[in-house]
């Protein structure tokens, strides 16, 4: 390790590992680290005092530092924790249309129950809305201990500022340790508003949630850098610990009966709320009936099958298995399929019982979105395609030959079972 002119063993950044999170830059007590034009941190050796603080805080071990030569540096005390009285409540925001909750809210109740059990906490559903009578009848079957209702006529449709204000008010009363929301367009919008009102931490689009054993903190794992990296985030000193989770990341739970208390909350909208006026609504007709996340089997066309000619074959296979056709990003970019059918980091996360990738190479952005699939079959001409690493079975070959054979063999198997 290099010494500077004062004879201090300085820290060095390993540029390949650095993800430019800038935590070391912020933590360095003498300002010896800056961001280089290449977008990674670098240490100014003459300024570095060899305290090793950067090596301690680096989340990716991108700092080379010899601890033996460490010069002690007295760090200013961090402000103490600002944890309110532990509410011992895990809360889930229920997105609904008055009659029916979104699937993702249901999935989060399942995960919330698991987290609440680990914390020996109560699970609470937070349900703001205008008329939510339709949701009451089954509260004994949703895994919750408490069902918090905030009804107000102004909440008849989703408005960021009103829902943000209402949900923040509920959270201040319920004081949950954890608040989970679905990462739908509504949930992502609402979570940003609520976290800002409550001045707490929020982690978006988590694919994994768990409780750390010693600390009792929620560990939130999410893809970042376009899905190339999984970051595990925590929120130590602020409550609630907030996370949004995409639909289909967690399985649909099945709950047994559980006693659940319904608690009503009063609320009135703030006087200064800016409410956009809804002057028209254009229903998306092209999407009707093709929510690919709802199908148990997906036949997914990738770059290698990016041709309209392949469609009859894909459709036939999908029909045979009770599924539908989806695609990866290049197929959408080529204008062959609509965005709504795209699987991937920028498309939809899916968890079908069977996924068949046809000419899908399996870039990491695609792979993270299919990790919940029960079974994966990959068909690709390139034996080195990354999709094969995650496939339960793979066939190296031209799909125009493999698919007809696949179709005929499946037909035979179905027939023989009926005989």
């Amino acid at each position: 390790m290099a010494k500077n002119s004062k004879g201090i063993e300085t820290a060095e950044i390993i540029a390949d590992k650095c993800i430019a999170c800038q935590i070391c830059i912020a933590e360095c007590p003498v300002g010896a680290i800056e961001l280089s034009p290449e977008g990674t941190a670098r240490v100014l050796p003459e300024v570095c005092i060899g305290c090793g603080e950067c090596a301690e805080v680096c989340p990716v071990e991108a700092v080379a530092f010899d601890k033996a030569g460490r010069k002690k540096f007295k760090k200013a005390e961090k402000p103490g924790p600002r944890i309110p009285v532990p509410g011992r409540v895990v809360a889930v925001y229920i997105e609904h249309n008055g009659q029916k909750a979104a699937d993702v809210s249901w999935e989060l109740l399942g995960k919330g129950r698991e987290l609440a059990d680990k914390l020996q906490a109560r699970l609470a559903a937070l349900v703001p809305g205008s008329e939510i009578n339709g949701l009451y009848s089954r509260v004994q079957n949703i895994g919750c201990d408490e069902f918090h209702v905030l009804e107000h006529k102004s909440l008849y449709r989703y408005v960021s500022s009103l829902y943000g204000h209402a949900l923040s008010a509920m959270v201040r009363r319920v004081e949950p340790e954890i608040l989970l929301l679905g990462a739908t367009s509504q949930g992502r919008d609402l979570a940003g508003v609520v976290a800002t009102h409550l001045k707490t931490g929020l982690t978006a689009d988590c694919t994994g949630l768990d409780i750390e054993e010693d600390s009792g903190l929620m560990l939130m794992t999410r893809p970042t850098f376009g899905g190339n990296i999984m970051a595990t985030i925590f929120c130590e000193n602020h409550r609630p610990q907030m996370a949004t989770v995409r639909p289909k990341v967690f399985p649909m739970p099945v709950f047994s009966e559980r006693e659940c208390k319904v608690i009503r909350h009063d609320w009135s909208p703030p006087d200064d709320a800016r409410i956009p006026e809804l002057i028209d609504f254009i229903e998306d007709t092209t999407r009707a009936g093709v929510d690919i996340t709802q199908y148990p089997v997906l036949i997914v066309a990738g770059k290698g099958a990016c041709s309209p000619d392949s469609f009859p074959m894909l459709e036939e296979l999908a029909g045979l298995l009770g599924g539908t056709v989806a695609c990866s990003r290049p197929v959408v970019e080529a204008g062959i399929m609509p965005y709504e059918r795209q699987v991937g980091q920028t498309g939809k996360t899916v968890a079908p019982r069977l996924y068949i990738g046809v000419g899908v190479s399996g870039a990491v952005q695609h792979r993270v979105a299919i990790q919940g699939a029960e079974r994966i079959l990959a068909v690709n001409t390139d034996p080195n395609a990354p999709i094969f690493q995650v496939a339960d079975a793979g066939i190296v070959g031209d799909y125009t030959q493999v698919l007809p054979e696949l179709i005929s063999r499946i037909k035979e198997r179905k027939k023989s079972r009926h005989d």
């Binding site: 390949d16 993800i19 999170c21 935590i23 912020a26 933590e27 961001l35 977008g39 989340p59 990716v60 009659q99 029916k100 949701l135 009848s137 089954r138 500022s161 919008d189 940003g192 976290a195 800002t196 009102h197 001045k199 707490t200 929020l202 978006a204 850098f225 899905g227 190339n228 990296i229 999984m230 970051a231 925590f234 130590e236 000193n237 649909m252 956009p276 002057i279 028209d280 609504f281 254009i282 998306d284 999407r287 709802q294 199908y295 148990p296 089997v297 009770g322 980091q345 079908p352 019982r353 069977l354 990790q371 079959l377 496939a391 339960d392 079975a393 066939i395 190296v396 054979e405 063999r409």
Partner: protein, 287 residues
């Protein structure tokens, strides 16, 4: 009319790859670019300026080299570029970022009242989509996310009509200014800079504001003001893959053996999983 665009410099994540041997990022050849959604924000502002009298400011929080995207914004028709750069801003999560931007916008507002803030829906490196909602909430602006169209802009009435993408379709919403919109990629196709625009941008000065310039409370900035921390980082855990069969060595055999693996205890119902799919739809419903 004063429009503020919020910009972020990001690595072109489409180019980021992982070295599977060492589990490290391969940075070689990865360019820093203006977040593509923010480029649409700039385009949207410039189009408004073509029809109405507007001043457009662009704000970017980042290190010194982020100046390049502000210069790019100037070349496209933005009037004023402000780089928020201070060691104290480093390590900011979305809460601290929205605070820093809110302070900067308040400063701009003192110079010239801010009517409209345009942000990209999300940045392609973090994909959080939280900064826009956070900024609107802090400033008390009306918040309109996922905007796909700007239907009309009425400066005299201080109103804007936009099209907003939601799950079931598109809302057309009218709202009083000041407002903050976050824009989708399909709102507008960004132009390329003209040569005169490019030349002019090179001569312009980019203002650099530090924490004092935005009168910030140091406790709310950067890593100090960030409730969330990274505990660890790893590559996505791979599913264990199964065998691969080569069709060239026998197509029927490859297909048969694949089906054997896939459909072990799978074809229990005639149409796999369909019944379950319907079941999901019923859950959590009223009577």
């Amino acid at each position: 009319m004063h429009i503020v665009c919020c910009l972020k410099q990001v690595p072109d994540t489409a180019d980021v790859k992982i070295d599977s041997q060492t589990n490290t990022l391969i940075r070689e050849g990865v360019e820093s670019i203006m977040n593509p959604y923010d480029l649409v924000a700039v385009e949207t502002a410039v189009r408004l300026k073509e029809k109405h009298e507007c001043l457009i400011s662009a704000v970017c929080m980042g290190p010194a080299q982020a100046e390049s995207i502000l210069r790019q914004a100037l070349s496209l028709g933005v009037d004023k570029g402000i780089l928020l750069s201070d060691r104290a801003f480093a390590g900011a999560d979305t809460l601290a970022t929205s605070y820093t931007l809110a302070q900067a916008v308040s400063m701009l507002d003192r110079q010239h009242q801010v009517d409209l803030i345009i942000c990209g829906k999300q940045a392609i490196d973090g994909d959080t989509a939280q900064t826009g909602p956070g900024l609107a909430t802090r400033l008390g602006f009306a918040l309109l996310t996922y905007i796909t169209g700007l239907e009309s802009f009425k400066p005299s009435q201080r109103k804007i009509i936009v099209r907003r993408k939601v799950e079931e379709g598109q809302e057309v919403l009218e709202v009083n200014l000041p407002a903050l919109i976050t824009v989708e990629l399909d709102l507008a196709r960004p132009r390329r800079a003209s040569l005169p625009g490019l030349m002019k941008s090179l001569r312009r000065k980019i203002e650099v504001w530090d924490k004092n310039a935005i009168e910030a409370d140091a406790e709310q900035l950067g890593i100090k003001g960030s409730p969330t921390w990274v505990r660890r980082i790893g590559v996505p855990s791979p599913r264990a893959g199964g065998p691969t069969f080569n069709a060239a060595e026998g197509l029927q055999d490859a297909v048969d053996r694949s089906l054997d693996i896939l459909f072990q205890d799978f074809f229990t119902a005639d149409e796999p999983g369909v019944a379950e799919g319907e079941e999901h739809g019923k859950k959590f419903q009223g009577n």
